[in-house]
Assembly symmetry: C2
Homo-oligomer: 514 residues x 2
């Protein structure tokens, strides 16, 4: 058995079965080991940003980490942006980075770089392996680190000579420690805020956005009259018919602060104290005002589900109390495609149990509201804000949940960062429908220029904002990677093509011209 094989055996023993991979020469022993390890599947991605974004999406749906296989510092670097997103999403990822042979490193070969310095900002745990015999134990420890609730990023740096050498070690993997329960005091404090400082809001995030937590939150709302709010960019929100109505915190500070302003108190439940994406002059960093009362029922790292249930029980809420939305799809719109008719069409058609990955930026500004009454679905978004996550994350989600239809709501500008994901979708025959909201510009920058007081955008500034000259032809791009695509310009055409795409197996792309 090689060191690489002992490592993969330890991974399989810990319950891992999927490796998103973009190998190079230093990872040849890992390629051989995957070949020789039953139960380990490799999914080739043609760019490392697809590897790490897919690992994030996989973890969100599978509830366990995927492995990534990356080539030295530069290959890892190409995946950093979506590890940033995965870290902010609190997804579990285990990175395997091939490194030069230890005896070769002192010669500073061309691809040598300081991998730890690159890895630390996007990893909770980084280990440089020190011998073939410790590869299995390192893998087990990486799994323990990554499995820390709700999920962490563990990065293993693997010298080529140790991967190649013989090894006999077998690793024991300890089951992850369950997340800490919150104190009775935290439950009582939350209850007193919600009862005594009204109007009050329960601000939900993280695992508080899964069905069990939401059911308890609805009970809390039923007996206290509090409003249920949720994070702007949830990692994984279970929503639609049968779930309680939630108000989502708007992206722009002034809108979010306006939404929160009426509340005397806010209880944070699985969410951080919300922070604006960017700092704007004369605006504060935190949405919640200093004069508003705010307490934490549970942090994102604590057992928010049992905390919400304990709170509901403490408040004496009946087991089935609460308001739950019914199926209420928008009617199918007609005519010109706008962000509003686009959103309504998707919400009118999306099937039961769909996984929706949203990176539509301004093109899908109406989707969240339009789809509240759609059939039960998983809604994934982008807590980390690193652009380009959409198609890779959807790819990983589809690998983790092959029986569920996946719809990616993708903006054209962000989509260009990681379009290589389409190839992996075709290779693996994934049931993903990618909707490219094509507005042919970095519209969010136009908005930001206007917010900064610039009304007339000059031709020179336009060169940095417009995606015209030439226009991007997404149907051709999809065809180039083996994904059938069509372009639509009306709501009727979108409805027709979306219906077809969802019925036919395999990936599809629809360019939605706005």
């Amino acid at each position: 058995m090689t060191g690489a094989e002992s490592l993969l055996n330890a991974a399989v023993a810990a319950g891992l079965d999927t490796c998103f991979a973009n190998p190079g020469t230093t990872e040849i022993p890992l390629v051989q080991a995957i070949e020789n390890t039953p139960g380990m599947r490799a999914v080739l991605c043609l760019f490392e940003g697809v590897v790490t974004g897919a690992a994030d999406g996989y973890a969100r749906m599978a509830g366990k980490p995927a492995l990534t296989l990356l080539h030295l510092g530069p290959g890892f670097a190409n995946g950093i942006a979506y590890l940033h997103d995965a870290k902010r999403a609190r997804s579990a990822v285990i990175n395997l980075i091939g490194e030069h042979a230890t005896w070769h490193l002192p010669a500073d070969p061309p691809l040598n770089s300081d991998i730890e310095s690159l890895a630390n900002p996007v990893s909770h745990w980084v280990r440089r392996n020190q011998s073939a015999e410790t590869l299995a134990a390192d893998m087990a420890e990486a799994m323990e680190a990554a499995s820390t609730f709700p999920g962490r990023i563990a990065t293993l740096i693997l010298p080529n000579d140790y991967l190649l050498a013989d090894a006999t070690s077998v690793a024991q993997f300890r089951a992850p420690v369950p997340p800490p329960k919150v104190s009775e005091e935290a439950v009582k404090t939350a209850a007193s805020l919600l009862l005594e400082h009204r109007p009050a809001a329960l601000f939900l995030g993280g695992f508080g956005l899964r069905k069990r937590g939401l059911k308890a939150a609805a009970r809390v709302a039923a007996v206290t009259g509090c409003k249920l709010l949720c994070e702007t960019t949830p990692t994984h929100l279970e929503r639609g018919a049968g779930t309680p109505p939630l108000l989502r915190l708007p992206y722009f500070p002034e809108w979010g602060m306006e939404l929160l302003a009426p509340f005397k108190s806010v209880v944070l439940a699985g969410a951080r104290n919300p922070v604006t994406f960017f700092g704007y002059p004369n605006t504060r960093s935190h949405f919640i005002a200093p004069e508003q009362l705010s307490e934490t029922l549970a942090t994102p790292e604590e057992d928010i589900t049992s905390a919400l249930e304990a709170l509901a029980d403490y408040l004496g809420a009946p087991a089935n109390a609460g308001e739950f939305g019914s199926l209420a799809r928008p009617s199918l719109p007609t005519g010109k495609l706008t962000p509003e008719t686009y959103a309504a069409t998707v919400a009118a058609i999306q099937p039961e149990d769909a996984i929706i990955m949203e990176e539509g930026i301004s093109t899908t500004r109406s989707y969240f509201q339009a789809s509240g009454g759609a059939p039960s679905h998983s809604y994934l978004s982008q807590p980390g804000g690193a652009i380009g996550l959409g198609m890779p994350c959807a790819t990983g989600a589809a690998i983790a949940a092959p029986d569920r239809p996946v719809i990616t709501l993708q903006s054209d500008g962000a989509g260009m960062y990681t379009l290589q994901a389409l190839w992996t979708q075709a290779r693996e025959g994934l049931n993903i429908t990618t909707l490219i909201g094509s507005n042919r510009r970095y519209h969010i920058l136009e908005v930001e220029l206007r917010r900064a007081g610039i009304e007339q955008i000059s031709d020179k500034a336009r060169t940095m904002i417009d995606l015209q000259r030439p226009e991007i032809d997404w149907v051709s791009l999809a065809k180039g990677m083996g994904v059938p695509g069509v372009r639509v310009e009306t709501a009727e055409a979108l409805a027709q093509e979306l219906t077809i795409a969802l019925q036919e197996p395999g990936p599809h792309l629809i360019e939605v011209r706005l």
Copy 2:
């Protein structure tokens, strides 16, 4: 004047005029400043790897840095791989990274990350700006750092609030210090090696591969009988008819060591002591054997041109001594496309004064040898080894040298990393012909598996190596980004389409099916 404007004024005063950009919200003040700064041009790239790769290519041809404009840590991270390449190429690049407003950072907004930790491995110089009034001075210092011969990577982290604030400062830019001259002792030692320990080799790299240095090297060879060798992956080699014949060090260790074995001594001239790209079992790291005599005439950071001229003078070489190749193109091949007929066709047709960017990996293994007698041209390759540099680097080279035809020899696997470069080529109307050598696999990994003793590659390992199921259709990908493309399957068709592409203005792509 805003801080951002004072910074760009300082850049223009230092002679900079080009900024490869992918801006986000934190860079809005820089977008506005570019708009308001005459003499500064922005080139939009739809992915940050294109930004940094283009900056590398620009620096190689312009002999001065480009600016890059990048969005926070994650945007910078997407550009790290090609900054790694630029650093190894010793190209001059100045990165401008927008950072959150200083007062917003303590709230740890979603896109916050440790930018310094990400930047240090690929930068010689990193500065976090501390006030609006020091932005101009920081820019001037970045320029001085980047201009240190032959070129360095300088990274400026620019808080949004300082960019926005008023500033009055104007910066003085000191002209860069010329590279240090080598000692007389170094010249004498080199001469004695070449004269007394024969057969001898003069191993050229860096600026020793430009015409003036090569002319002096040819004089040295004429009087000492030494062989002229060059680095495996030159940053910028001026070659073709009228330049002295060079033997290039082969990529694989066994071939390179075989080439070097006959030499009793090796003089390093603008090159590091060459190191193999990867460490293989039972192979040493350095090509030059411990028993071979080796001395450094000039490091890549010293004035290699004057060192070579001093050596030629010291040896009493006549001013016009030396062997210079004549125009000797291969004849146009016919029939099936192979790496050999592909290379010969390009070498038979490439125009006078072309810039050739080679990232063909195994698809262009025959090109270097085939093109030695082609008309005078610049040959750029990849000293850093981070895959995907080809099309971005060619893009930057074409921006720097708009009157020269650019040909990119690109492999299909590496090309998929940064295909977004094609869009910028179309946007800017660049005269670039991209040849995609399509072998539909990571062929180098197949070779490495064979070198590792694996003769039969299983279906499972193949999933990580084959780029089939689906095949990549490069003509459609190019069309999707506004670049006209064709597919060729014979040498005759390649000759015809390459001739057309070179005659028509603007970018073209030819998928060369091998």
